[in-house]
Amino acid sequence: MAHVPTAGGFEVPLWRAVAVFRVASLAYVCVVLIRDADRYAHPLAAGALVLVMAAWTGVTAIGYADPARRGWPLLLADLAVVVAILLATPWVMGRPALDAGLPTLPVAWLSGPVLAWAVSGGRRRGVVAALVLGATDLATRGMVTPGAFNGAILMLLAGVVVGHVARLSVTAGERLHRAVELEAATRERERLARDIHDSVLQVLALVQRRGAHLDGEAGELARLAGEQEVALRSLISAAGPVPAGAADAPVDLRTLLGRHASATVSLSAPAGPVPLPPPVARELAAAVGAALDNAARHGGGRAWVLVEDEGAVVTVSIRDEGPGFPPDRLAEAVAQGRLGVAQAIRGRLADLGGTARINSTPGAGTEVELTVPRREP
């Protein structure tokens, strides 16, 4: 938690503000000196003390400007110098001036280290510096006047507030840094996707198209090219990294079903997302997967998946053009191992409060229609 490395450079303006504060408060010190010098015990020494303060203001302004020098040596020296000036003040002003209630010579200037400590390390450091300086100030006066006490409290509050703001700005800087990195990664990914799209995908599609009608090895190569084209396409069009903390945020059913799309499985869906709670989407996708496995095993050929979002319900239909089976001959279906799948699919849908309609005609393939209600989360 030490002086945090600059992520977004957010604390640079804070350090500049501390330097400005020190110069401005030094100007006020000069005003106080000119006004009250004739009532001080040692006016010349007071002048010398103000010169020391001016010099130290310059040293800190330059010192804190460089991130490498913002370490403990300068912070401790800052506090020590200001404490020393504070300790010299009673002698310079003299008892009568202090008892008359005149402000101590450094007035607000002594808050400088409190701000520096707070900016460098947050609230806790600001409080420590404020307590040290406040205690020294009260001790040198030898009594607790309401004005002096107020000053100490204000200094403490300044330490807390500035420390808090400093922490916030560092955190904001780090977040911005991370966001910029993430954006760069996403851009790179999009650029890659474009490049792949422009080159590899086109060539694979061309190979497939020109070779699809050939027999033997050439036809096989064309088919392989087609499969790779589909795989690559789904890879580059897949959603980017999931935002953190979105564990139970609705997921897009299309993304889950996209994994099933291939050269033989066509996926039709709306252009926009089909959001569902993650468990519902996962169960539904699993049921679709089971239906597709079944279609591949028994249907053999192509299959089509249609996703429809009707607001209150989401419907997924799966169709194949396999041999199908007669609806009244379930015993035969059991023998073929089909009913097991059908029951598994029905079971999953029942758990979701939905329905599964399975329609099969011999010679005309099988159609499965899965419907789930969308409950408000």
Partner: protein, 220 residues
């Protein structure tokens, strides 16, 4: 088969040449081929193609802009879109802008030539994926307008029950012939239903664009 005048627009030279060769071998005439959308819009009036085979992803302007430009320069032209990846919103926007055919680039040669022929004849060429997109778009429009409580003129286009039924079957991969058999309709009727679903969407899109233009004009 009488040869068609075809224009090929694709930024990939290898693909462009392959397609042109396939079309020529099939007896069609490739009247122009370009790699950029703006160029295509410039030459379309002079080339007078029956069909433009258009890659949706061009380096200079979007597929929608190309289609609007082509139709403005040569109103009779029919557009068959091809895309290598299933850019879904892009395909839908292109259909709304007036393209009547859509095919994935991975489609086979016979399928491609058939699509060119049917697009030229004014028949809609749908993939199951496109039917899913169009179905989704009708549902989206219905929700948007019911929320906005629009007046009758802006009412979202709606599908008849029959059109929905046909479109769902197209989305599930059935051919027009299979659909006609299942629903006991003629092939021509099925085709008309599909055509109507596109027509209403394109009309609605034109109305929306005009309204938008008027609103912008009045605001300025």
């Amino acid at each position: 088969m009488s040869g068609l005048r075809v224009m090929v627009v694709d930024d990939h030279p290898m693909w462009r040449e392959g397609v042109a060769r396939d079309l020529t071998e099939a007896g069609h005439q490739v009247v122009a081929s370009c790699g950029e959308g703006r160029q295509a819009v410039r030459v379309v009036a002079a080339a007078r193609p029956d069909v433009v085979v258009l890659d949706l992803q061009l380096p200079d302007i979007s597929g929608v802009e190309v289609i609007q430009g082509l139709r403005a320069a040569h109103p009779d032209v029919r557009v068959l879109m091809l895309s290598a990846s299933g850019e879904q919103q892009g395909v839908l926007d292109a259909v709304k802008a007036g393209a009547t055919g859509y095919l994935l680039k991975s489609a086979g040669l016979a399928e491609f030539l058939e699509a060119v022929r049917r697009t030229a004849a004014g028949e809609p060429v749908f993939t199951p994926g496109l039917a899913g997109l169009v179905l989704g778009e009708y549902r989206r429009l219905a929700t948007v307008t019911s929320h906005a409580a629009a007046d009758a003129e802006d009412a979202a286009p709606r599908l008849t029950d029959r059109e929905t039924e046909v479109l769902r079957l197209v989305a599930k991969g059935m051919s027009y012939k299979q659909i006609a058999e299942r629903l006991g309709l003629s092939h021509r009727t099925v085709q008309n239903h599909v055509q109507n679903t596109l027509g209403k969407l394109q009309l609605h899109n034109r109305v929306e664009l005009t309204r938008y233009a008027i609103e912008r004009g009045l605001d300025d």
